[in-house]
Amino acid sequence: MSDPSTASPPKTLYQKVWDAHTVRDLGGGRTQLLIGTHLIHEVTSPQAFGMLRDAGLGVRMPERTFATVDHIVPTHSLVEPFEDPIADQMIRELRRNTEAHGIELFDVTTGRQGIVHMVGPEQGITQPGTTIACGDSHTSTHGAFGAIAFGIGTSQVRDVLATQTMVMNELKVRRIEVNGTLRPGVYAKDVILHIIKTLGAKGGIGYAYEYAGDVFDAMGMEERMTVCNMSIEGGARCGYVNPDETTFAYLEGRPYAPKGAAWDAAVERWRALASDEGAPYDDVVVIDAADIAPTVTWGINPGQGVSIADPVPDPADAEDAAEATSIREALEHMQLEPGAPIRGRKIDVAFFGSCTNARLSDFLEAARVLEGRTVAPGVEAIAVPGSQWVKAECEKRGIDRIFIDAGFEWRGAGCSMCLAMNPDKLEGDQLCASSSNRNFKGRQGSPTGRTVLMSPVMVMAAAVTGEIADAREVFGAADGVPA
């Protein structure tokens, strides 16, 4: 084989992975794309298995399909049958379908269950250069490994089950470079909230986001997952970070990672996947890390964000009538006054969980600032590890005690109050400081409930003060902020 660096023009990782997985052109820009890894869960797969049965079709690559339960699973008790009979039925349906087709299920009894986007990486199933699909929009998370990972609908879950392929239109690629060093007290969540605030909730439509530059190079895998997770909140179908030594070190030794000589061959293959020097991009955005502050949302989509020290917008300052209407609707739902600070608003609930921020590193960071403090009176605080592995690891290290002693409820693994499909829900117009990914109206289970998205450390600051707070002021040196 000739040396690819001289033989072919420079390409992005996206282009290399796309080309390698292209089965055929279906015309009109539609491509039949091979999906290397298919992840399924209990909420968007039963209808797809039903469609397969109706069509008399089987599962094409059951050994490349992996299942877990996360969306609907209760986090307070795993005693079966579950209190919610429909939740119980959906989980039994997943068990039946995976058993019938020979698909591995990381069930609640395995110690390996959790939010699907945590289980894939933990098990070493998520690997560089692969295509991944899952009936959940936050599948973009897996891009942290240099995979191209798409959230899909249920009919596409059917397509991937039946054929291991699906139809996709090729995306443009936007490189988002964040250079320099993050200020103390600024986390991966702040970086992605800042990016979405800057480019807008629909700014990424038609794009894959490539995250590059000093800040992502320096991030650990779990931080990269936080960033890639919210690509979809910026409208981008997927987002990725080029694989590097950090990626390989994370994967080595995990259950589904290659072993021995196969490992060495895989690393060599993965190394060659990173975007080439001089690769063409459809757009490049450069951000200075020093401009990023702890960021929270003030509105009803993740693009409506603000630095914690800044006031929320005033519709009178909007660029056009449509923006003014959007701001007015959001302020009204959130019960905020135009131009007022969001800092200092009283909270009712602190939710620490979700596929954005419920990994071990999130718990270590949060525990560091929470230790020795207590949740403010009147605040309902729940901590929901994203997976059984994270929960067990926290308990091994005594981190559960820090949360319990502070007044948090310590829960089992699942999506929980991120989307409120299980019993964890806001009530009435409660205001929730949340480490999750969506602040849509009604998202956390009450039509009038209010969600403010922020990093786990900022959730801790809100929990202990009882209000939306600047964690740097609340925790000072414990948050790495110089006196």
Binding site: D159, Q164, I205, A420
Partner: protein
Amino acid sequence: MSALPPIPEVRGTAVVVPGDDIDTDRIIPARFLKCVTFDDLGPALFHDERFEADGTSKGHPLDAPEARGATILISGVNFGSGSSREHAPQSIHKAGFRAIVAGSFAEIFFGNATTLGMPCVTLDADDLAVLKATVASEPATEVVVDVANREVRAGDRVFPATLPDGAHGALLEGRWDPLGDLLAAGDDVERVARDLGYLPAEPGA
């Protein structure tokens, strides 16, 4: 797979759901995702926007008497953002809608709707505003979403519409549900899988 009917146009009365960034949580709240089929999702459409907790109407446009029987839904930019839940376009379809006109669509939603044979076309901002005003003032106006000619007509007005080539061709050729095309690839899937280096040599079990 049997051939699907081509969808050259959708014709009927329309209803306007005002606002931009209408996310799929609003279209169908998560609690309605507790189902193992999509059959009963119609009444859940925009549920919490339409009804108070006690079931009384909030006066949503979908519940206006003149909205009865509407087959075309009109909204703003970034329609269908957020969750990948196919329950969202399924609930719109099961509630009787057969086409959506908006300023722009979130991509997962667009793909999910197209797979159901429900065309999603976009108009530029000025035309969309005129269309909304026309439907608001004359709800009985017949609106035509002309897939073949990529235009939307309302009364004597004609608006150029955008519909990407892939969806355009798929709707006109009766290939909007792609499963038949995907199954027809045959050995190409094995060939690509073999060359990737990370998939099993003998796929399938």
